[in-house]
């Protein structure tokens, strides 16, 4: 379970390594240490220059560099040596802009690592120019709004203000490729505060994009919102829509896998013991088929399994499900936080108070600003 599917290679270093290999190959006969050092220094210097001049786009499947010449809510256009490439918004993990403040990238990395409080602190140090390159302003505003929303979801900050920041971002940067993320973040924020209808309204906006992927994602997110609200039937209807979509591609398949897990939970919540059994069987099939190193999917599957057992009031089985997440997939961020949150109660219910306290302590330590930790705090 050690390998992660979303594994990124730091591009400049990779390039440096490749180039040095090539160079070394060329100097095979007599590779003096001084020569190697000098060459490496030169290569790194070149790379540093390259980094300063180009925008870099980290995708789910690699990194591209060039100049961002256009952005829309559905993606961006990257141009290099006169060749323009369009990258879909859902495929973008992050973007590093040429000449951006160093702190911005630190903040971005902190967000990717789900360290929102740290990201907020770093963002305070980012000097936002009043005017300048639109993409840079959008990056700063997006991450500021996103971090605010995540912190508010975790109980650190006012949800209303955070929602306003997201709305303000979308109003100011209508063409940003971050807009779908902002919509989803706003929906999550609203859903997190119990405003499920408002959340669904936000998710519905995603479906308006001319993208099969976002239409499917919209249905999935709406289904989840119905599930959170407790309406298993409506959740099932939305999730079925997501599952029936023909978006295609790895990203879409992944969303459908996750949607199928939620569908199983909806089936369990809405039905009797047989329905729970069906749901468990469905999830079991998915687990059996999942790649052994797909931590996120497996953690989601065991979380869904835990939900099914919780709906059947089978605390022991739920404990085992969430223990999978806690012990085998502790790097899955929110899913791990959720598992710890459930384990606090489940350990207690099985008479293991100190393990319950351990889970609570770990939750508070690792995810202090998560809504799960906030939910437990007195």
């Amino acid at each position: 379970m050690s390998g992660r599917k979303l594994c990124y290679v730091d591009q400049p270093l990779e390039r440096a390594r490749r180039r040095s290999q090539v160079a070394e190959h060329g100097l095979m006969n007599k590779p003096s240490l001084a020569a190697c050092c000098a060459l490496t220094a030169l290569l790194l210097a070149n790379d540093a220059w390259g980094q300063a001049a180009l925008d870099r786009v980290r995708r789910t499947g690699g990194v591209d560099s060039g100049q961002i010449t256009a952005t829309t809510p559905l993606g961006l256009t990257l141009t290099r040596s006169g060749v323009a490439t369009t990258i879909a918004a859902e495929d973008i993990v992050s973007v590093t802009l040429a000449g951006e403040p160093a702190e911005l990238n630190s903040a971005r990395n902190a967000v990717l690592a789900r360290k929102f409080a740290e990201a907020a602190e770093i963002l305070k140090k980012v000097d936002r120019p009043a005017a300048g390159r639109e993409e840079l302003l959008a990056e700063i505003d997006f991450y500021s709004a996103l971090v605010g929303a995540k912190l508010a979801s975790g109980g650190s900050g006012a949800p209303q203000a955070a929602a306003e920041s997201l709305r303000s971002f979308m109003a100011k940067h209508r063409t940003s490729f971050h807009v779908p993320q902002a919509i989803e973040a706003l929906g999550d924020l609203l859903g997190g505060t119990g405003q499920y209808a408002a959340a669904r309204a936000e998710y519905a906006k995603l479906a308006k994009a001319k993208s099969e992927y976002y239409a499917m994602r919209s249905a999935w997110l709406s289904g989840r919102a119905w599930l959170a609200e407790g309406d298993a039937a409506k959740a099932a209807a939305e999730l079925d829509r997501a599952l029936a979509a023909k978006a295609g591609g790895e990203l879409a398949e992944r969303v459908q896998l996750l949607a199928s897990l939620d569908r199983a939970v909806a089936r369990a919540k809405g039905g009797d013991a047989a329905a729970v059994d069906d749901a468990v069987h469905a999830i079991a099939k998915l687990i059996a088929a999942a790649a052994a190193d797909d931590d996120e999917l497996l953690a989601s599957a065991y979380t869904a399994l835990g939900d099914c057992y919780l709906s059947a009031k089978d605390e022991r089985a739920a404990l085992f499900a969430f223990l999978h997440v806690d012990l085998l997939f502790p790097q899955t961020g929110d899913l791990h936080a959720r598992a710890l949150h459930e384990l606090v109660g489940l350990w207690k219910a099985t008479g293991k108070d100190s393990r319950s306290q351990e889970a609570a302590a770990e939750l508070a330590k690792r995810y202090p600003s998560s809504k799960w930790a906030n939910d437990l705090s007195p």
Binding site: A284, A292, D353, Q357
Partner: protein, 1037 residues
């Protein structure tokens, strides 16, 4: 070290982690090698890549084996596990059981779980899961049995008389051996069934399987030889051991030949040497070790074996007295070793042996003190290094360097974090452990050094306490809970050890109730129980009997209940039951105590049964000491106690594991047998080789560490040897001599003080007196006579002692004769009573001659009263009356004298039929000038008692309440005697007057009943009822 703790405070898992269980580590390397050999081949081979397998492993890693087992029981009923994992569930289950067993602090639990695991592995292997899985399962089963065997062997080496443990170890090792034999056979048959080599070369899968089978075969054969070696060590030195070592040596020899130039060959050669060494053939052993040390070893594993060979080589050379060669070899090896190697256990063990060789050589250099001094300095230097790092000899090296290490310890000022403070605290605890061991050793070998070493103990305790409390202060939210709980437990234990029972109780209670799943929780509960018990003992008795239980008492019960419900199979559970039993018994709930016992598994019941039996026995003794003793109830209570003690004693005998508690129970059992006149049976108990207190004293058992227990054992032995028919006077004399050694004479004792041995003999005399009374009460006249003879022996023995002329001793001797006479009754009593009279008269004569002889005038009066009682008992009523008159003239207001005088008149009347004496008993005698009688008689006594009773009644202070109760008793007692005197008079009266006088007796009782329906309580009511029954009989006549 372990023996230092009270039995209820054995060191716990975290203490062991900190090195507290390193008492004896002889042969540890071998055990580690064996276990490593088993573990390295059988660990993770069957673990499949499956989330369920991963979860099981993760749960095991976290120590949550209970949850892992639950998961494995649950998972097969779900669709969540794959077929591969489903097939392996029994294997995983057995693995978890074994892990749980290894982690268990309880020896019995560990044994149970490992045994169950071994059985499960074997069953899995039998289920034909495939060749390799079966082999791996058999290895695990062998591992479990080997662990059990090695643990028993280690225990046998640590305690005297471990024959049964050795036999048990042998059994387990043989079981492991038979499993390994199956592995060998399995590998061989699988290899034989493989295709021809040419075919295998072309088939990578077949080649892989062949290599795996070959590898497992080699490992199994090596294991087989190792198990044989360990089995050899289970025999005491002698023919059987030699034969077994020979067999093991031959197996290793085969391996050396077959696997030449491999690690298997090198390690087998080493063990060949070990076998020769164990057989006492040092030359041949040296030959084997020399082969190893000559090898140009570069591979780290080879070098470890070379280091082991150097260590063993040094042992052989030391045995042969070749100190110089041993020193040279050790120095050369260490000098040539790599810097990183010098901290490894094998190298440190060579260093220890080198230190010992230096000391040996130094001793042989008497003519060269400078060189000897240099060698001693080198030895000290080496010992310091050895003491610093984990290795087999660390503890011994620490003992040798304890003083130096205490000076070198870090001070609490160095601390800046919880981790540092805890580690420093643990180090201080280790130092404490070493210092305590040093004290124990010094007590035997160098008593002069004890005070200084004791200072080290005290200093280490202080230091450990400061560090651990500092650690608790430094703990924060990030401190791992288990480490924090470890620190809490250490602090808890130290608080208890220091006598800070409130701190110990608070911490222990907190750990047990808040963190019951923690590894330290059962031990913490144990300390809390012990601490609460101390607090309860120190609490003053409540003024009001109806007052509720104290907080400490309530918590004691709560923690004991918790221990019993959470850890029913733990060693602590027996202690908890004992406490609950004690609490139940102190509240008179014997039935509850017995029910509690049922809550323990039969196998773990012996200790609690001992405690219950002991507690019931004590209860019976208390009952016997009460005025209103109900003989039938006492007999029933004693029988119950004896039944429990007999059963528990049999269990202890069988287990061969005597403890301080079992010894107390055995002593009670012996006393109960003595009380029944079964002195021979008592001697059997006392002398039982496995569990008898006297045999345990002779064997130097740790169960007999408490002087008070030894003293009681010797006293009981003295009593038993004197009581048996014919008396064993020589053994009785040996007991007295042992007591004299135990209680050395103190210089400067004053002329009036009684020596401790005399006091003990007098105590034995008291016990014999009680025994005499019990036997008479049970109608065992012959046994009573024997006991009287034994008592006579004791009295004579005391009379011969230097301090026999002390007032207290002389009075006691006379009193003993009087009581023996009274107890014997009839014709048997005369000699004793006559001796008593003579003795009392002599005391009074001595007091008259030397006014300083008696401690007080009151003491002289008390003797005079006893003389009067003796005269009365002899039927010399006039002489008795004379004494009473003297007494009453001296103290006319003394109620006790008045009662005795009235009683004497009553007795005289009853014995002689003199109506006048009965009248004097009722109305008094010896009229004075003021017209009043000097002796009051029972009627006046009743009147005075009633007045005093009314005077004190209604007052709430304790003294008034006691006085009121005392005078109430006197009131009913006096009325009873008035009625009884009237009854005796009625019987003596002419027939015509008898009915009227009997009616008068009834009237006395009726009037009293009208006023006081309970007639003063059961004690008096039963006597009034008996009297009325006698009146009824007389009326019918």
């Amino acid at each position: 070290m372990i023996a230092k703790f009270p039995t209820f405070l054995q060191p716990t898992a975290p203490m062991r982690r900190a090195g507290w269980n390193c008492a004896v580590a002889i042969q540890k390397t071998t055990r580690l090698v064996l276990l490593a050999a088993i573990w390295c081949v059988s660990g993770p081979r069957l673990v499949a890549a499956d989330p369920s397998a991963d979860l099981t492993a993760a749960l095991r890693q976290r120590g949550w084996n209970d949850t892992a087992l639950e998961f494995l029981d649950w998972a097969p009923s779900t669709p969540l596990i794959g077929e591969e994992f489903r097939r392996l569930v029994p294997f995983h289950r057995a693995t978890v059981l074994a892990e749980q067993g290894r982690r268990s602090r309880s020896r019995s639990e560990r044994t149970r779980l490992l045994t169950e695991a071994a059985q499960s592995f074997a069953e899995f292997a039998d289920s034909k899961p495939g060749a390799l899985p079966a082999i791996d399962a058999l290895r695990q089963a062998a591992s479990a049995h080997a662990e059990l065997g090695l643990a028993s062997l280690a225990d046998a080496e640590n305690m005297a008389g471990g024959a049964e443990l050795r036999a048990s170890a042998r059994g387990e090792l043989e079981l492991a051996g038979s499993l390994v034999e199956r592995i060998v056979a399995g590998c061989e048959s699988e290899l034989a069934a493989l295709p021809k080599p040419a075919v295998i070369q072309a088939d990578p899968e077949a080649k892989k399987l062949r290599d795996q089978l070959r590898s497992r075969l080699a490992e199994a054969r090596y294991l087989q030889a190792l198990l044989k070696f360990e089995r050899s060590r289970t025999f005491p030195k002698g023919e059987e051991a030699t034969e077994a070592f020979t067999e093991a040596g031959e197996l290793f020899g085969d391996l050396v030949a077959e696997y030449r130039d491999t690690l298997v060959a090198a390690s087998s050669r080493f063990y060949q040497g070990r076998c020769w060494q164990e057989r006492g053939d040092m030359a041949k052993a040296l030959g084997c070790y020399d082969d190893l040390v000559r090898l140009p070893a570069a591979d780290p594993e080879f070098r470890r074996w070379t280091a082991r060979a150097h260590r063993r080589r040094a042992e052989c050379l030391a045995e042969l007295g070749k100190w110089e060669e041993a020193v040279r070899d050790g120095e050369e090896w260490l000098a040539a070793s790599r810097p990183a190697e010098r901290d490894l256990p094998e190298w440190l063990e060579v260093a220890y042996r080198l230190a010992k060789s230096c000391q040996g050589l130094a001793k042989s250099l008497a003519d060269n003190p400078a060189a000897a001094k240099q060698l001693d300095a080198r030895a000290r230097e080496l010992l310091r290094v050895v003491a610093d790092k984990p290795n087999e000899f660390q503890k011994l090296a620490r003992v040798a360097t304890v003083s130096a290490s205490s000076q070198a310890a870090s001070s609490p000022d160095d601390l800046s974090s919880f981790d540092k403070a805890l580690e420093a605290g643990r180090a201080a605890l280790e130092k404490l452990s070493s210092a305590e061991l040093a004290v124990r050793l010094a007590k035997e070998n160098n008593p002069e050094a004890v005070p200084e070493l004791q200072q080290d103990v005290d200093s280490a305790k202080r230091e450990a306490g400061q560090l651990l409390w500092a650690a608790l202060e430094l703990a924060d939210a990030d401190t791992p809970i288990e480490r924090l709980n470890d620190a809490r437990y250490y602090a808890c234990w130290l608080s208890y050890d220091h006598g800070d029972y409130y701190d110990a109780a608070t911490l222990g209670d907190f750990l047990a109730t808040r963190f019951p799943e923690s590894e330290v929780a059962p031990s913490a509960a144990k300390v809390a129980l012990a601490a609460y018990q101390q607090i309860v003992r120190s609490e003053p008795p409540p003024d009001d009997a109806s007052a509720g239980r104290s907080y400490a008492s309530a918590r004691l019960t709560a923690i004991a209940e918790l221990t019993l419900s959470r850890w029913p199979d733990s060693p602590e559970a027996a202690g908890a039951v004992s406490m609950l039993v004690a609490a139940a018994l102190s509240e008179g709930r014997i039935d509850a105590a017995e029910q509690l016992l049922e809550r323990l598994p039969a196998g773990a019941r012996a200790e609690a049964q001992m405690s219950l039996g002991s507690a019931i026995w004590e209860q019976a003794n208390r009952l016997a000491g009460e005025k209103s003793a109900d003989e039938a109830a006492i007999a029933a209570t004693r029988k119950k106690a004896t039944d429990y003690l007999t059963e528990a004693f049999a269990a202890v005998r069988q287990s061969g594991r005597a403890t301080a508690a079992s010894v107390v129970g055995a002593l009670y059992l012996a006393q109960s047998l003595l009380a029944e006149g079964r002195a021979a049976g008592a001697i059997d108990v006392l002398e039982d080789k496995a569990a008898g207190p006297l045999a345990l004293i002779a064997a130097g058992s740790p169960a007999m560490e408490q002087t008070v227990v030894v003293r009681e054992a010797l006293k009981t032995g003295l009593r038993a040897y004197l009581s048996v028919s014919p008396p064993r006077r020589e053994q009785a004399q040996a007991m007295v001599e042992s007591l004299e050694r135990l209680e050395p004479k103190k210089d400067g004792g004053d002329a009036k003080s009684v020596g401790p041995v005399t006091a003990i003999c007098l105590d034995v005399g008291r016990q014999l007196l009680q025994q005499l009374r019990d036997l008479k009460a049970a109608g065992k006249t012959e046994e009573a006579r024997q006991t009287a003879a034994a008592l006579d022996d004791v009295l004579k023995r005391v009379a011969e002692r230097d301090d026999a002329d002390r007032w207290a001793v002389r009075v006691w001797l006379a009193q003993g004769r009087l009581e023996a006479g009274e107890a014997l009754g009839g014709g048997d009593s005369h000699d004793q009573l006559a001796e008593a009279r003579k003795a009392f008269e002599a005391i009074l004569a001595a007091a008259a001659k030397d006014p300083r002889f008696a401690p007080s005038p009151a003491a002289v009066l008390a003797v005079r009263m006893k003389l009067a009682e003796t005269s009365a008992a002899l039927g010399e009523h006039d002489k008795a009356a004379q004494q009473y008159e003297e007494l009453l003239k001296a103290r006319p207001q003394a109620v006790e004298f008045q009662k005795s005088a009235a009683g004497a008149f009553e007795e005289q009347g009853a014995a002689t039929g003199e109506i006048e004496a009965l009248n004097q008993a009722v109305h008094g005698a010896w009229q004075q000038a003021n017209g009043q009688n000097l002796a009051w008689g029972w009627i006046r006594l009743a009147r005075i008692a009633q007045a005093q009773r009314q005077r004190h009644s209604g007052k709430t202070d304790a003294a008034s309440r006691q006085a009121a109760a005392r005078f109430a008793d006197l009131y009913f007692e006096a009325n009873l005697h008035v009625a009884r005197c009237r009854f005796v008079a009625a019987k003596l009266a002419p027939a015509s007057q008898r009915a009227g006088q009997l009616a008068a007796v009834r009237k006395i009782v009726d009037v009293l009943t009208a006023q006081y329906p309970d007639l003063g309580g059961p004690q008096w009511k039963s006597q009034f009822d008996r009297l009325l029954a006698e009146v009824g009989d007389e009326e019918k006549r």
